[in-house]
């Protein structure tokens, strides 16, 4: 198990390394110059060259990349803005804040959004899915299945603005979503995020309903489930002990993928509701040609995806003894 984890982590680091190279190349492939954004009203070749020098953009790309790697691992005190301890992504071109701090600053928003929504969609989605599977073929099942089909076909970019238009702009029942610190005031934290949570988790819940239902139905067709029934175990017992246990594997897999990619920045949701999370930061870093920030967000997002891949694999071991013992 430990060896497996170590191997997976090394693999993840290699992927991150490659990703950072791709991002670097991608960035220098962009035909726009960050210096243009920074050189103020009277911009001319001299001042651009000057900014290039200050940012180190006049060095060869390979050397810049080397410096980036070095700083990431060992930190740096070369920055004019101040010291930058490892993991050092440098300072944002645009705000001059340390990228790492900016990431950590934005993280609570994304985490609040993601985890809050995850709690909702897991409870609602799995609950509905289990109910539909339990009452398979009944009206309840048919309604849930059809509903989930339609709702999971909704898009955040339709449901989000629609919810905003109705709940905020037309009826004024809610404030525009905003992120407030949980530690500052839990109540405003909650009320500020409620619409994003509902919108995000509605769509996800429908997907989890469909997934849970089909996973349960598939499991209920397993022979060992029938054996358990033939032993005289009750339907509930078989449903929750036998079928559910087997359904966990696909559910945990998808949940890991979803959580990993959401924690790297729920771009469309954050964009739609104007929440200052990692996704919004990512979009900004692209629009501002802010290389240090872009690298930071990219790598952070990929780390989340990889981390949850590993977590999912480790979770298999807890769920399935065949994995644990082999």
């Amino acid at each position: 198990m430990l060896r497996f984890l170590v191997r997976r982590i090394i693999g993840a680091v290699v992927i991150l390394f490659l990703l950072s190279i791709v991002t670097f190349v991608l960035f220098f492939g962009v035909p726009r110059d960050p210096a243009l954004l920074m050189c103020g009203k009277t911009c001319n070749p001299d001042s651009i060259a000057n900014i290039h020098h200050v940012l180190g953009l006049d060095k060869p790309i390979t050397e810049q990349y080397w410096i980036f790697l070095h700083n990431l691992v060992a930190g740096s005190s070369q920055f004019a803005q101040g010291p930058c301890p490892a993991p050092c992504f440098g300072y944002s071109y645009h705000t001059n804040d340390p990228v790492w701090n900016t990431l950590m600053d934005r993280l609570p928003t994304t985490v609040s959004l993601t985890l809050g929504a995850a709690v909702c969609f897991l409870i609602v989605g799995l609950g509905t899915g289990l109910l539909a599977a339990w009452r398979r073929g009944t009206m309840v099942d048919k309604t849930a299945t059809a509903g989930a089909m339609v709702v999971s076909s909704l898009q955040i970019y339709f449901l989000g603005p629609l919810a905003l238009a109705i709940l905020v702009y037309q009826t004024h029942w809610f404030d525009k979503p905003a992120y407030n610190n949980f530690t500052g005031d839990p109540l405003t934290w909650f009320t500020g995020l409620i619409i994003p949570w509902v919108v995000l988790s509605t769509i996800f819940a429908a997907q989890y309903t469909r997934m849970a239902r089909s996973a349960m139905i598939e499991q209920l067709q397993e022979e060992h489930v029938r054996t358990a029934r033939a032993k005289g175990m009750s339907r509930q017992y078989v449903f929750f002990r036998y079928a559910w246990r087997g359904s966990l594997i696909p559910i945990v897999t998808i949940f890991g993928i979803d959580l990993g990619s959401l924690l790297g920045g729920a771009i469309i949701t954050e964009y739609t509701f104007g929440l200052p999370g990692l996704g919004q930061l990512a979009v900004q870093s692209v629009f501002f040609s802010d290389l240090p920030l872009l690298l930071g967000v990219m790598l952070f997002a990929a780390t989340m995806i990889l981390l949850f891949n590993i977590v999912v694999d480790a979770a298999y071991a807890f769920i399935d003894p065949r994995v644990r013992l082999s």
């Binding site: 960035f27 492939g29 962009v30 076909s153 771009i267 979009v283 995806i305």
Partner: protein
């Protein structure tokens, strides 16, 4: 025998034994001598949901195809700025003054807040743009998936390992972020920053970025199929009889991956439609005035619309829901037609 014997009331059907069931057997008699394609078609035709969905999907494609003709008959185009042509219909911020977004006998779906484009023609042209992009992406992904997936599965060894690692690597990409970051790069590959970006370049860029991160899932599935097929007798037989690998792939493997391919493609296409719309929604895809589904969502999410003209949102919204639901139902039906044992 496949029989819906179940574990008690309302439970679920159980495959009682591994042997082929009476139903399949019955059909085998009934439809003896028919090709698998015919069989699938017969099963599909019996599935009423599937047939209706197919008609709906076909309807959307038809609309996309005939958009120019339809707008000609309707007598409008999606580029006319009615806010300046018919200022009496708008206030100074470009909101239609008549209720429900200015729906009238003249403007069937109303007018778009802002410049006041005709929503009906904009929607049908938007469907045309979005479907064009998605169909091309799907085709590109299918070709790539076949090439790399089958190569990995059939050739195995180093090729498999290498392609497997590439897939792992690409799957770790934060896809959406990558799309946003790479769109300008890809556009710049085709046009110098000084020149106008023609719509086809944006379309091409959208196709390329989506294709780049879109093929891995299909590739993996096809790799698995090819891997399984490689071990099967008829492939062994072909090998022993001295057929070249290319011939084996073409004659023996490709016909056998048609099923997963068709099923996966019907699931992929609506995903590409929604992803493309997402990029246009974020402002990195298709932009005004080119009509596009996602661009309409982008418009629909402006305060101007949310505040003043909620009606507008429903045209792109509802049409896309219908399209995606129909396509997903069609996908389920195609899957069931190919593989009737799958539980629903």
């Amino acid at each position: 025998m496949t029989s819906p014997i179940d574990i008690g009331d309302g439970g679920t059907s159980v495959v009682v034994s591994g042997e082929p069931g009476p139903k399949t057997k019955g059909e085998a008699v009934e439809l003896a001598g028919r090709s698998p394609g015919r069989l699938m078609w017969m099963r599909f035709k019996r599935d009423r949901t599937g047939v209706i969905s197919a008609y709906v999907v076909g309807f959307f494609f038809l609309i996309g195809l005939l958009a120019p003709l339809i707008s000609k008959l309707y007598g409008k185009n999606p580029y006319t700025v009615y806010a300046d042509e018919r200022p009496d219909l708008f206030d100074s911020a470009g909101v239609p003054v008549h209720p429900n977004g200015g729906i009238s006998g003249q403007f069937w779906f109303g007018l778009e807040p802002g410049n006041g484009y005709d929503v009906f023609t904009k929607l049908i042209y938007g469907i045309r743009t979005s479907l064009t992009i998605s169909v091309v992406v799907t085709l590109a992904v299918v070709v790539t998936g076949i090439l790399l997936g089958v190569a990995a599965g059939y050739l195995g060894g180093k090729t498999d390992y290498f392609i497997g690692r590439v897939i792992d690597f690409l799957l770790a990409f934060p896809a959406q972020l990558f799309f946003i970051a790479s769109m300008p790069v890809v556009v710049s590959l085709f046009v110098s920053p000084r020149d106008e970006t023609p719509t086809y370049v944006r379309v091409l860029a959208l196709i390329i970025v989506q294709w780049f991160l879109g093929w891995m899932g299909l590739g993996r599935i096809l790799r698995g199929t090819a891997l399984a097929l490689r071990e099967r007798e008829f492939i062994e037989a072909a090998k022993v009889s001295g057929a070249s690998p290319w011939r084996i792939i073409r004659k023996e493997i490709l016909p056998n991956i048609v099923t997963p391919l068709l099923v996966q493609s019907t699931y992929l296409l609506p995903n590409f439609v929604t992803a493309e719309a997402g990029l246009s929604y974020l402002g990195v895809g298709i932009v005004e005035p080119t009509p596009d589904w996602g661009q309409m969502f982008s418009k629909a999410s402006t305060e101007l619309v949310m505040q003043n003209d909620i009606t507008y949102m429903f045209f792109p919204g509802i049409s896309m829901i219908i399209f995606v639901v129909a396509f997903n139902l069609l996908g389920d039906s195609v899957r069931d037609a190919f593989d009737p044992k799958t539980a629903r």
